[in-house]
Amino acid sequence: MEDFDIWDVIVIGGSPAGLTAGMYTSRARLKTKILTGPTPGGQIALTYRVENYPGFYEPTTGPELTEALMTHAEFFGAEIDRSEASSVEFSKSPYTIHTKDKKLKARTVIIATGSKNKKLGVLGEEKFMGKGVFVCATCDAALYEGLRVVVVGGGDSALQESLDLTRFASEVFIVYRGNDLSGCLCLQERVKENPKIKLISNSIVEEIVGTNYVEYVRIKNQNNGEVDSLETDGVLIAIGWEPNTEIFKGKLKMDANGYIESDEVKTSIPGIFVAGDLIDKEYRQVVTACSTGCKAALEVERYIMKQKQ
């Protein structure tokens, strides 16, 4: 295999961490490819209003921020590829990454595949996905104008999405486990002040029911076990995230929840690094994701320099 066929670094994942890593490595004159998949940006691309990314004191949108990150990476020469990695081979360097129609080789790899929406795992969830069940308020809120939506979850995402929904929906019911919402206080205040939002605590959605579209949900009270039906036109699932690491199973050490085991950004295999929400399970902000992307890129630079010595 010719040297020019081998990338210095392939970034798997077009998340803020991945795009930042690709910007840094390409700026360091490393031959960089970023496999973003069909929708770059990760979770931030689904967020309508971003007001807490440093330097952007006027709110921007998730897609705009994603575009800026991509442009920055391309400015220094990174190649953005909208293919999706389908499998990997990490047994020896250069490492191999397969997409649907390509076999790629890289001296180093940065994994920044982020996370995806956790599923409720209840009856009706799959059946009605796109027919009343949805995961992105930014995308679909307008289709619930004048209608009622149940939001499942009590964290930051659920609260922010609920507020987004009130731009269109007539009523929003937030169903959550436990007595208290777990989202940040600033969001909790806004939610509690919003007359369109009603809270249903200590409860879980047991089933999503309907004929061709969602018609109602069955809600179980965790304290007394009572089950009630609540008519609704939509159900937004916002219960958290799980890591996008299926293709790395058996190739890298992982914990029981599917997160890649790492020492900061270094995985168990030299030359393979990880960044973003895959290692930052606690803070999960765009800026923290970008910082881990930067760290992974700097480690790639050091690794390649060392290999050359």
């Binding site: 069909p38 929708t39 940006g41 691309a45 689904l46 309508y48 949108t61 998730g62 897609p63 994603t66 796109g130 027919k131 009343g132 949805f134 992105c136 930014t138 995308c139 679909d140 307008a142 289709l143 619930y144 104008e145 004048g146 209608l147 269109f168 061709n212 579209y213 939509g234």
Partner: protein
């Protein structure tokens, strides 16, 4: 000039019901990242296939557009609704590769007799 037609639902009769070929209506909006991903793909397909009319309705453009979409059963964006002789015969929701979307559209159109009579696709 692009063959893709952007319209508001007040022109539904003229653009969709009176068409003499199958019509695809994409319900989309500019804040939907999946819609933005599909934009160049849909525009390319519109140039490739002659026997289908490709159109778009932006649901954020007007309340009427939103209400009509909701009445038609649209619950997610992007939704590509295939309409023959004024009747919806199928919908495709979400992100597709160009090849997959073309294949799905052709499959739905080919399998509906009214569409075949109106305009057989290769």
């Amino acid at each position: 000039m692009s063959r893709l037609i952007d319209f508001g639902v007040e022109k539904w009769s003229e653009v969709v019901e009176e068409a003499n070929k199958p019509v695809i209506v994409e319900f989309w909006h500019e804040r939907c990242s999946a819609c933005l991903e599909m934009k160049p793909i849909y525009e390319e397909i519109a140039e490739d296939i002659d026997d289908v009319k490709f159109t778009r309705v932006n649901i954020l453009e007007s309340k009427e557009n939103r209400k009509y979409a909701i009445q038609l059963g649209v619950r997610s964006t992007p939704t590509f609704m295939i309409i023959c002789d004024g009747t919806p015969i199928g919908s495709l929701v979400g992100i597709f590769s160009k090849e997959d979307l073309e294949e799905q559209i052709i499959k739905i159109v080919d399998n509906k007799e009214s569409c075949l009579m109106a305009s057989p696709l290769e």
